[in-house]
């Protein structure tokens, strides 16, 4: 059975791109969220195997969402999607419970490596 994924990003472009990469690799995208708040709600509903999380989003940012999700499920597997120059935020997200990160612009191979590490 393929792994289920929740994709969180406020930009449709990024959601589409991540979904495509993961779809092609055989993952099942079970939901999308465009804010941190939505991400927390959908995580509770869908219990996905993996979450990809943008850092800067309206209505609760990605780091806050990581904190909330990990509070509910300490084993949540969250992959941060960050832009260059956001190292301090990524560090904060890792401290909040994120398991790995990828840096935009995304290279499909990099994303998949990170996903494997998180699920591994």
């Amino acid at each position: 059975m393929s792994h289920t994924v929740l994709v969180c990003d406020d930009a449709i472009f990024m959601r589409t791109m991540i979904s495509d990469i993961l779809n092609q690799a055989g993952f099942e995208i079970v939901g999308e969220a465009e804010s941190g708040l939505q991400a927390v709600q959908k995580y509770r509903e869908l219990k996905p195997d993996l979450v990809t999380m943008d850092i800067v989003m309206p209505d609760m940012g990605g780091i806050e969402a990581v904190r909330e999700i990990c509070k509910q499920d300490p084993d949540a597997k969250i992959l941060m999607c960050s832009a260059m120059g956001q190292q301090a935020l990524v560090v904060e997200a890792i401290q909040a419970g994120a398991k790995d990160f990828v840096v935009k612009p995304f290279q499909p191979s990099r994303v998949l490596e990170a996903v494997q590490r998180v699920l591994g």
Partner: protein, 620 residues
């Protein structure tokens, strides 16, 4: 391998490692159960061994190898007794000698020490000679003091092409943390987020888990280029400083560079002088060149700045040895080690500080019985501190000992006819001058009063030579503080130019508190000397034209006055005119015999004329 470049590198790096060794041994002695000092020592000595072997210095390599064996045995569980630690102190001393002498082909370490090391490494139990820690040994039962697993020193390198190496390093660290307790993280985690973090870090992991599993866990964080264990871990420069990229530069090159910048500054000043008042494009360009030269100058000065800790670091060990030799209990504290000074000044400070500290330990501090009888803690204290003051640095050596007996010193001075019989109070100033008299203090010491040997003489002489000063403050029963003040940098200083008669003189700004107008109405007398009242403070005056015996025409009625300040002391220097400020380059000065002490050197002014530099410390 006879390349002198490598020899110099070997020497520089070897010294660094040995300094670290001394510090680690002191830490260890304080807490013999701690594991970190042992790992640190092992690494440092291992590095020395490797370097020495590469250089073909067999003696050094052999000694290091044997010391390493002993450390290895201790890591494997041999209890660290005071005797063993003392043996390692001796080995580090011997290594110091061997490292210093190696390039000169000097003597080998004594056979007795080598044997002692071997015996200690072999110990009463298991023979553990020369086996590197490839696998966590089925160790002999660890000493009671070190319960639980010993663990490993782990070094991790994040792939150089990886993005956000700091965040990746944190992930790797978290993976390791899941396996045990992490200590001795270098650099500290805060450095991970810094711009220059190079993706390398090391830590000690206390765990039962095998190295293979540790490595697998760390690699699972992704982008890990290498994981190293124990002896093969290379430690990055320690401490919280940003791990900036560095290169080593021969000090002579910096000196040459500084000298040339100095000449450039003089030429720049002359150029500015020539185009002054000229509104042309040339003047504009000269202004630009001037700013660039200033920037260059401050860069070069900054490059030469070195933290005083480099000199301070050698004293904890010295005090420990002194305490042992003297049979006293001494606690040594140092602070302000991060304050920076020009390298060439710093190099001159080791000696005088050594003398002052030795004096404090030997003469200043009482024996434990005497201290207890006086209601003091039996452990005496010596403090070494550095603080920034205006454009100078003050370095203090304080002890909480018995203080200097002024009465005895004064009586002695009177007997010898050095002090007038009418003098009733021995000021700190006069005390210092007496202590610095070569024959004097020795004589006092012989009479059993707390005297201060040749140290004060050396310290005062060095301070003066550097354009600085020395002060003493002592309280009976409370202790003594010597304050050594030196300028931040030697080669180029900002100075105030003053005129007396026909001549111009430079006064380094480091010691100028302010300038005021000499006003006859504000003149008063202070102990039969002329003095000036400046904002309710009575300051003795010195007239520069009297001092230099300027051939006079009449002195102008209104005369500017420079208030010189060295520590707490002030003097009002009355001059004929002030001519503004200028950066001056202090020329090395072979003082002719009989040169008055108030002259500290010479310089070339912007217009190409020479001028003498006044030594503020000798005037106040």
């Amino acid at each position: 391998m006879a390349d002198p470049k490598y020899a110099a590198l070997f020497l520089a790096e070897g010294r660094e490692h040995l300094r670290a060794c001394n510090q680690l041994l002191l830490d260890w002695e304080r807490d013999p159960a701690a594991a970190e000092p042992v790992s640190g020592l092992f690494r440092a000595i291992h590095n020395i061994k490797g370097m020495a072997a590469t250089m073909g210095y067999a003696g050094v390599a052999d000694l290091a190898h044997r010391a390493e064996n002993l450390l290895e045995a201790i890591r494997a569980g041999r209890p660290a007794t005071p005797d063993l630690i003392q043996l390692l102190f001796r080995s580090v001393d011997a290594l110091e000698k061997a490292v210093e002498g190696a390039s000169a082909g000097a003597g080998e370490p004594g056979a007795e020490l080598l044997r002692a090391l071997d015996d200690a490494a072999r110990g009463p139990g298991a023979p553990v000679v020369g086996t590197p820690p490839a696998t966590p040994a089925p160790a002999p039962k660890p000493a009671a003091a070190r319960k639980g697993p010993i663990g490993h020193l782990v070094g991790v390198t994040i792939r150089s092409g990886a993005s956000m190496r700091g965040a990746r390093a944190l992930l790797a660290l978290q993976r390791a943390e899941a396996l045990g307790r992490i200590t001795a993280l270098r650099p500290p985690a805060a450095a991970f987020e810094r711009e220059g973090f190079d993706g390398r870090f090391s830590f000690h992991l206390r765990t039962d888990v095998s190295v293979e599993r540790i490595e697998a866990a760390i690699r699972s964080a992704g982008e890990v280029a290498a994981v190293a264990f124990d002896g093969s871990v290379v430690i990055e420069a320690e401490g919280p400083q940003a791990p900036a990229r560095q290169i080593r530069v021969d000090l002579q090159r910096l000196d040459a560079m500084m000298k040339q910048v100095g000449e450039l500054v003089v030429a720049r000043n002359r150029l500015l002088d020539l185009v002054r008042g000229d509104g042309s494009e040339l003047a504009e360009l000269a202004g630009l060149v001037s700013r660039l030269v200033s920037d260059l100058q401050s860069e070069v000065v900054a490059v030469r700045m070195t933290p005083v800790g480099e000199v301070f670091d050698r004293f904890p060990r010295l005090v420990r040895d002194l305490a042992r030799d003297l049979g006293k209990q001494i606690r040594f504290e140092a602070e302000g080690g991060d304050i920076e000074l020009d390298r060439s000044i710093l190099d001159e400070l080791g000696d005088p500080l050594l003398h002052l500290i030795r004096n404090a330990a030997d003469h200043g501090l009482e024996r434990a019985e005497e201290r207890e009888a006086a209601g003091k803690p039996s452990e005496g204290r010596i403090q070494l501190s550095a603080t920034r003051e205006r454009r100078s640095v003050a370095i203090r050596v304080s002890d909480d000992g018995r203080g200097i007996d002024r009465g005895a010193i004064l009586a002695k001075a009177k007997r010898e006819g050095i002090a007038e019989p009418s003098v009733e109070v021995l000021t700190d100033d006069l005390l210092l001058r007496l202590l610095a008299r070569p024959g004097f203090s020795t004589a006092v010491r012989v009479s059993g009063v707390s005297g201060r040997g040749v140290g004060v003489e050396v310290a005062l002489g060095r301070a003066r030579a550097l354009g600085g000063s020395l002060d003493v403050h002592t309280e009976p029963g409370q202790g003594t503080t010597f304050t050594l003040r030196v300028p931040l940098t030697l080669a180029i200083v900002r100075a105030l130019l003053a005129q007396a008669g026909e001549e111009r003189y430079a006064v380094p700004l480091a010691y100028v508190a302010e300038t005021v107008e000499f006003d006859t109405r504000a003149v008063t007398a202070l102990r039969s000397r002329e003095a000036l009242v400046v904002r309710d403070r009575v300051i003795p005056t010195v007239h520069l034209r009297d001092l230099v015996a300027a051939r006079v025409d009449r002195a102008p009625a209104r005369r500017p006055t420079i208030i010189l300040e060295v520590g707490e002391r002030r003097t009002a220097l009355v001059v004929d005119a002030l001519l503004g400020q200028q950066d001056i380059v202090i020329e090395p000065f072979d003082a002719p015999r009989g040169m008055p002490p108030y002259l500290g050197g010479a310089t070339i002014l912007a217009d190409g004329a020479p001028a003498l530099i006044l030594d503020a410390a000798a005037l106040v």
